[in-house]
Symmetry: C2
Subunit: 225 residues, 2 copies
């Protein structure tokens, strides 16, 4: 009986959230801010990917970051140390961000001075997939050590993202994880034929230019509209 | 307003679950089955760790496995292929297991023929920490590529587990992740001074004997009571 009750409640929360997310997207359209929701499991390299990506973007676009964690502010500190506008949201146990929390984060940034804001969602391949944050673009990271079978186990996340970043490709040469990139691509495309896939190493920088170039074009198209 | 409502609901569900978990633990005490709840982020190596551990235990203890995933049955198939009793629970989108789901899984195993049952929880460092499954022992895995900062970000999981398995220590020699084992231990002990920590590689087998030996002693103490 627990199960049924939980699902009903979740639907209510989702319905409210959809509304808030839609309103937030309209507000961001007016304010000309391109919002990106970055999701992954813990330890996939979200923070380092954000730093590398913004390094590439910042000659052309003004970027800010909303960091979300259950606890601590280590990620926002790491981002701010690079001179990037950053806000830390502590979810206090919550396993995902919703649109209301994101709106609270955005209120703390000077949006008039920003073109792109990247949300680093809570490290979790499950719950964040179910909540629209108001972002225009949903991006996920899968890192090589996590294994190429993850689309089979967390299909929703792979199904709804616009972009998959396969991170830590520098691990491939050590043959520690038996990771098969072709098999991964096949599994992901089966769930989501339209998804953009980039192979990167946020550590070495490999592949980041191509991904950042694509993102920059998407953001500029939005800002020019 | 969403936040407050969600917290209230979660407390109700937790209260019900505590009751079911307590009853399940009494039942397992009567039936002499030692239940282990294994939790980690996606891709930390839960399935391979279970296989390696049972390989060590099975000359002395009869072992079964409950696999939980949002979707797919690849893990249960991998376990069953090794001749181990396995049940797959598909949570249908749920991000964690609760005691009711675990009881349903146990109903499908021949408990009279088993001494130890290991639950492979949904890959998630957040939500499973909040739900008592009825297990006597809570074990978590953190794998080296995830990074040594994870106790700062997911403190609840580290605080409540009895055992931490630091997996994929074969990655340490490649210096890809800047992982500092001493720093990790310090962070974990600060949250949880009593926790047992084992460094293992489920792939190479390094350290698994020591962990399995400890687990075997705990299980036998329980079974002898």
């Amino acid at each position: 009986m627990d199960e049924v009750r939980l699902i009903e409640i979740a639907e209510d929360i989702h319905a409210d959230n959809e509304l808030v997310a839609r309103e937030l997207r309209i507000r961001l359209g007016d304010e000309k801010v391109f919002l990106v929701n970055l999701m992954s499991a813990p330890g996939s390299g979200k923070t380092r990917t954000i730093l590398r990506t913004i390094e590439e973007l910042q000659t052309q676009l003004r970027c800010g970051v909303i960091e979300a964690d259950i606890d601590s502010k280590v990620d926002a500190e790491a981002v701010a140390a690079e001179g990037i506008s950053a806000v830390q949201l502590n979810t206090g146990g919550f396993c995902h961000l919703d649109a209301t929390m994101v709106a609270q984060g955005l209120d703390q940034l000077e949006l008039a001075d920003l073109d792109v804001v990247v949300i680093e969602n809570v490290g979790n391949l499950v719950c964040p997939a179910e909540f629209d944050t108001g972002a225009m673009l949903k991006v996920m990271i899968l890192s090589v050590p996590e294994g190429d079978d993850k689309p089979l186990k967390y299909p929703l996340m792979f199904s709804l993202c616009d972009v998959l970043l396969v991170n830590k490709i520098d691990y491939l040469e050590f043959d520690l994880s038996d990771f098969d990139v072709a098999k991964l691509r096949e599994r992901v495309r089966k769930l989501n034929p339209e998804i953009e896939i980039f192979e990167i190493s946020a550590k070495t920088g490999e592949g980041v230019g191509e991904w950042a170039g694509w993102l920059s074009r998407e953001a500029k198209r939005f800002l020019a509209d």
